[in-house]
């Protein structure tokens, strides 16, 4: 339920970045979201339409890349992807896993913009 505040933070960050590109139009905002980040893509998309209205982000697409939960398995001496969020065990050797390597990310990866050519 905090997707609106998440989206508002995105608008603030991107708007800040745009000051370096006057007049640019935002086409895409790309996120990296861990499977355990506790935000829901549908809610993000819904809030994004509302929060970007009247901002330089209006009309842009929000692309969400979901990152699977990766845990360190000391027994297998490697990073493994857990089979489900209901079991934090190594899918190969069944060892319980407590060291997370990926899964809680909530980041803006990049933005795609159309820049205005400078007039000569």
């Amino acid at each position: 339920m905090h997707e609106l505040s998440v989206v508002s933070s995105i608008v603030d960050s991107v708007t800040g970045t745009l000051t370096a590109y006057p007049g640019a139009r935002v086409k895409e905002v790309r996120l990296r979201v861990g499977a355990l980040a506790s935000v829901i893509e549908d809610s993000l998309q819904f809030c994004y339409g509302i929060a970007t209205e009247g901002t330089p982000l209006q009309g842009s697409a929000l692309i969400v890349k979901v990152l699977p939960v990766m845990m360190q398995c000391d027994k297998c001496a490697r990073e493994v992807e857990i089979a489900s969020l209901q079991s934090f065990r190594c899918p190969r050797c069944e060892e319980p896993l407590s060291e997370m390597r990926q899964g809680r990310e909530l980041e803006i990866d990049s933005i795609e913009i159309d820049e205005v050519e400078e007039k000569v």
Partner: protein, 220 residues
Amino acid sequence: MTTRIVELRQGILKKNDELARGLREQFEAAGVLVLNLVSSPGTGKTEFLQRTLGELVNCGSKAAALVGDLETDNDARRLAASGAPVRQINTHGICHLEAEMISKHLEDWNLADLDYLFIENVGNLVCPSSYDLGEKIRVALLSVTEGEDKPLKYPTLYNSADVAVITKIDIADAVGFDRAAALKNINEIRPGVRIFETSAKTGAGMTEWLAYLDQARPAR
């Protein structure tokens, strides 16, 4: 018109994370152990905390609490009965506490005077897991009335816990609580986490919990 990709690689909750980092440094410098209590509404966070504060005050420890709710100061008034300093944070609709709210409500408290600071989060099993408050220990609570599969349904929160506390064990039999299943489910989501089985009403499990707090406290 030229299309350009601008790399940002920026945490969306960066502002909160930075504030939380500052708070954590402040807490560590002051030598106060800070705990963030998270659970669904009705788990008994306030009752558990009231008992904890009361016992700590009786032992001569200095403990304080910040308590978050959408509205009312009912919980702060309940907790103040323990004799510990307590402040209510009203979020007015926001479903979780944020680092900025903590920093604002600490105001004139001298942290160096405290042994423990408890932060009772807004009752919610989803959003609080994303917001670092600068705590050292995140305590996830689960009551015997909630269903043993709660940790499986809300892995984002239970996986972020440093300690788990089962509350209301005095009524476990009456509600048909399956203890083995609950312990197994917590362990599936957060393998090896320390689990306390408690009743704020009878005091069951409180001795172990208080011993843990004493041990976790930074040495003076």
